[in-house]
Symmetry: C2
Subunit: 111 residues, 2 copies
């Protein structure tokens, strides 16, 4: 395991997000397209392969943890402006969203 | 906000941890010294300034999210071998631990 410096860590920006809208990405098996409030004027769009693990109604209004300064990427033609964080056990095919243990506002920075 | 590349993100190693032991660091106001199971043979020690926000019994056995490959640092003479992650609102003096929304084993990687 390679060690990182505190400066490398400080480049990473993560925030609390709240999922405002959930849609399936058409013609894909696993992809949702989410609109996520991260405490700024407009929600950001996040594309994520959570279909096997979470139903739409389980995601709606959920507080999550979002990496907000990753360079945007395209999946199935849809732009993803961030990445939500999960604990993922590939051997057992488990994927569990990170959350906050008490309620706190969208946009709150992770430190 | 500066964008990071996927390669910069992949350098960051975070895991689910479980707090096995909680002690105050003597002669400090804010510091706990925690022994945290991150799924390897021995727990790692984390020093954290959570005394104003969490009681010892609220931390004991709690599942948390740990940055595990930060270079070790010393606080009040105690070595910290990782950092636990919080959502922190400095204006309101609030600090809320990150967690997993369903139970999952210590050591599970965050992706």
């Amino acid at each position: 395991m390679d060690t990182i410096s505190f400066d490398e860590w400080k480049k990473i920006e993560m925030k609390v997000g709240k999922i405002m809208k959930v849609e399936r990405v058409p013609d894909t098996d696993k992809l949702y397209k989410l609109q996520v409030d991260i405490g700024v004027a407009e929600p950001i769009q996040i594309v994520t392969s959570l279909v096997p693990y979470y139903k739409e109604e389980e995601l709606q209004d959920r507080k999550i943890v979002v990496l907000v300064n990753l360079e945007p990427a395209k999946f199935a033609g849809e732009t993803s402006e961030g990445m939500l964080l999960c604990a993922e056990n590939e051997d057992e095919d488990k994927c569990v969203l990170l959350s906050v243990e008490k309620d706190i506002e969208p946009g709150t920075p992770i430190t």
